[in-house]
Subunit: 513 residues, 2 copies
């Protein structure tokens, strides 16, 4: 029996972490920059981010949220105002202390001691405190509410151990910030953003997620409630892929965001914030990648179809290119997932076979190869990235007429999008274990060499304070964390796996990124 | 005769600088953030930037340039490598020296002395040096060339005197960076980017510009040639609205960007860089604004048409809103300037008249007001922002049938776009004075109380070094600068206005932002 010769040198089953780095390198998505904790996002990785941005931005705008831009620098005093917030972030921020360089007398440069800032500035790790200042200026009356803002920006959190896309010192994200008249409105917005993230993850990124509330110990610093979407990676670990926070009046009180209510009284606003980041790209890799590289869901693929002409350096090449260009134009006029199909005729240097495997590793959803003989026969060879190999361990090319290729491309791309999502959802559902009732069983589940232990859904009594800390520590001993309280899980009907008390709700437990 | 009651309290002719600030405030585009030199860009201002981004990004991608993202932090050593570059920027950069805050023992926070960086990091003022590092990794052979990259990013230059949009410590921009096999290719790319900026300024922003090369003293630090587009503001001053640099092999030698050429020899690449920023928005304001606020060219207007229902808080309001919604949907289905028309049905709080003037100050190209009587008669009242007042000093509303309003909106918006450009070009052309042959005449032209002295096109001998410095100083005494050597000006045929030597080319002289 033939053996498939995969396009990557590392398999997921051999070393998942090494495989992850290999996909990023081989799909040419990003690389280390040489600047501590910062990555360079290369065209294919950035193209995927641009697609995610475009689709998420459409969803944000459709909700009536308006984009703004706020300063990258935040004065220290803003952090001093909100104690629990600074507690959560103070340990990992980049601090600007000088505004000029001078020669150091040794042929190099140094910060100019004469140009020391009176008050150091922090490079934003998140913008609640600076946007709070603006909201305090912008809001006078209930008529100004709700105030719905968002910004696309870079943020910096000084991370000691970094991993590309998943945890970098600088990353790109959007952060929504809203202010409301009361808790009910703010909680509704928190849920709206959460649902928007679920829809984007599932419909655009084809990643199946569980939405739910984070436990008290995992709350955003200063938040009253933190909600998340959690995705299962192919190694069974969880990835927190987006968060939405109800902040109560904590940040409003710190920044003085007040309004005159309908009865004429002064009140503090209830605020929310919510964000997703370039971390989503890590989620795409670990959800859809395989041993041949990345597979990009068509909705977020910078190119959905690549046409590779088999050029021979001969006189026929001109006619072949004309033939390919006609096909390209025909495909570009088609609609898939509500947009014009993104198709590239790849005329770059290099042999067609090498270029094919480059595109396989990049995970473009559909590759179409056309040689001189194909042209003469009026056919094309089409390869689906989601079903790469045939039973003979060869690339599973299908021969189609040009009319078929053009006519079916829209539904094919939609089928691939749905297929990737179904595959992710099926794997997720198959790897959530229920019915475990003791910490001993929890430990046993994650012991041994079960390679993909997945997640556990267990019941708990929702302990708080010190009692919760004990639970967190007990889980930590097995490298486990509580992911969230799934919004749509069944009511509790048993006892707490940790405390033995009557359970009040179900939670997800997992190893996590 | 009636007197027009303008929507702004300050007129351009009274105090242009105060008028500029008033437009930004009254059109609700941006505001001071409280963080030194940084502004908050509000939804209307940011929406204009998003439109400029979208149109420019389409032009960038159409040229085969690929977007990437590079680190915000640049190590000091990168600046130390390129002497003339650091010379140009060293004086005004934000320097990160610590990566953690701790309690200062007085209830506040301070940089943690234990967390001092071994090597300070600079917040990028521009990214030639860090992108050069990446290019050195990415380029091996002539087959890798040209390498065409761009990033959309924030940059920081510590400015002592700031003015919103025109000069802020943090600003948003795109920076293109390309590497080529030889000087010819790199110079061609420099000109391509310059031409792209001209087209975007003229076709999208409706700003008439002069393209040309900057004199030696105005070159980008480290560049061999710097080219610019220069726009004339309504006070006659020049605004450098975009630059494109041919960098020779200077940055390639500093960063080691080498390639094996077609003959197998190692060579340094020739590189270019080019950028435009949020400064363009300042140019839009000072080109198209009038005494009633901003006028946004339709191509870059976040909303091109606003429909204002004259609600009365009565039972009829429901029918009126239905009527307006049908009109909105009809207009939204129309095409103007190659895109679907952007139309908003404004149902926000507030009286219709107040809302009208808000939209006038924001400069939305077309306002449509509809009251109950209009509905009964099947008509709408349409106001063009570019021709606001009638002879009786009243807003010049036109009564149109619904069918007319829908059917003509596309061509109306295109007419407004063209009209704004022609107005700007006519004003620009009328305010360039030629034929001046001595420095005395130059001084006389800018002396006195001529409010809009505009620009001079004079001939010069293209002095260099010390001789050029003398010219620069002589001009500086009159607050004048050399803007550029227009690409399309007539050949020189006289003597140099500064040196009396035979002239070799023509240059533009102006006061500038």
């Amino acid at each position: 029996m033939s053996q498939i010769r995969h396009a990557l040198s590392v398999k997921r089953s051999d070393d998942f972490a090494a495989w992850y780095q290999a996909v990023i390198a081989e799909a040419d998505m990003a690389e280390e920059s040489g600047v501590r904790g910062c990555m360079v996002i290369k065209p294919w990785g950035y193209g995927i981010w641009e697609r995610i941005q475009r689709l998420m931005d459409d969803r944000i705008k459709a909700a009536g949220v308006q984009n703004c831009y706020f300063p990258i620098f935040i004065p220290l005093k803003n952090f001093e105002r909100e104690a629990s917030h600074v507690e959560g972030f103070a340990k990992e921020m980049a601090v600007v202390t000088h505004h000029r360089l001078i020669a150091d007398g040794k042929g190099g440069l140094m910060p100019d001691p004469e140009a020391k800032l009176e008050e150091p500035l922090v490079v934003r790790p998140t913008s609640e405190t600076i946007i709070g200042d603006a909201m305090a200026r912008w809001i006078q009356s209930w008529r100004d509410l709700p105030l719905l803002t968002n910004q696309w920006a870079n943020v910096v959190r000084w991370e000691m151990r970094t991993r590309m896309f998943l945890r970098t010192s600088e990353f790109l994200w959007q952060e929504g910030h809203t202010a409301h008249e009361n808790a009910e409105d703010a909680r509704r917005e928190t849920q709206r953003a959460l649902e928007m993230y679920r829809a984007c993850a599932e419909e655009d990124l084809a990643i199946s997620v569980v939405t739910g509330e984070k436990p008290e110990n995992e709350r955003f610093p200063g938040a009253v409630e933190t909600w998340s979407i959690e995705a299962m990676m192919q190694d069974g670990k969880a990835l927190q892929a987006g968060t939405s926070h109800y902040l109560g009046t904590n940040f409003a009180e710190a920044a003085g965001i007040q309004f005159q209510d309908r009865e004429g009284a002064q009140q503090f606003c209830h605020t929310t914030s919510w964000g997703v980041s370039t971390r989503l790209i890590g989620g795409v890799i670990m959800t859809h990648g395989d041993d041949d590289g990345l597979r990009v869901p068509p909705a977020i693929a910078p190119q959905q179809v690549v046409i590779l002409p088999m050029l021979r350096g001969s006189d026929e090449d001109g006619a072949l290119l004309d033939y390919c260009e006609k096909l390209r134009a025909g495909i570009a006029a088609q609609i898939a997932l509500g947009e014009k199909v993104r198709v590239l005729l790849d005329m770059s240097h290099g042999k067609a076979a090498a270029k094919r495997w480059d595109w396989v590793r990049k995970g473009v959803p559909v590759i179409i190869e056309i040689g001189g003989r194909d042209m003469d026969n009026g056919v094309v060879s089409l390869l689906r990235r989601d079903r790469l190999w045939n039973d003979a361990a060869k690339p599973d090319f299908a021969a189609l007429s040009v009319e078929q290729a053009v006519g079916e491309i829209g539904s094919l791309l939609e089928e691939i999008q749905t297929g990737l999502f179904n595959e992710a959802r099926t794997r997720r559902d198959a790897n959530i274990t229920r019915g475990i009732t003791s910490m001993g069983e929890v430990a046993a589940h994650y012991a041994g060499d079960a390679r993909f232990p997945g997640w556990l859904e267990v019941q708990w009594s929702k302990p708080s304070g010190d009692e919760l800390e004990q639970v967190v520590d007990a889980l930590k001993a097995h490298k486990l964390t509580i992911r969230n309280v799934p919004r749509d899980s069944a009511p509790a009907d048993g006892t707490c796996v940790f405390t033995g008390k009557p359970a009040v709700e179900r939670i997800l437990i997992a190893r996590a990124y």
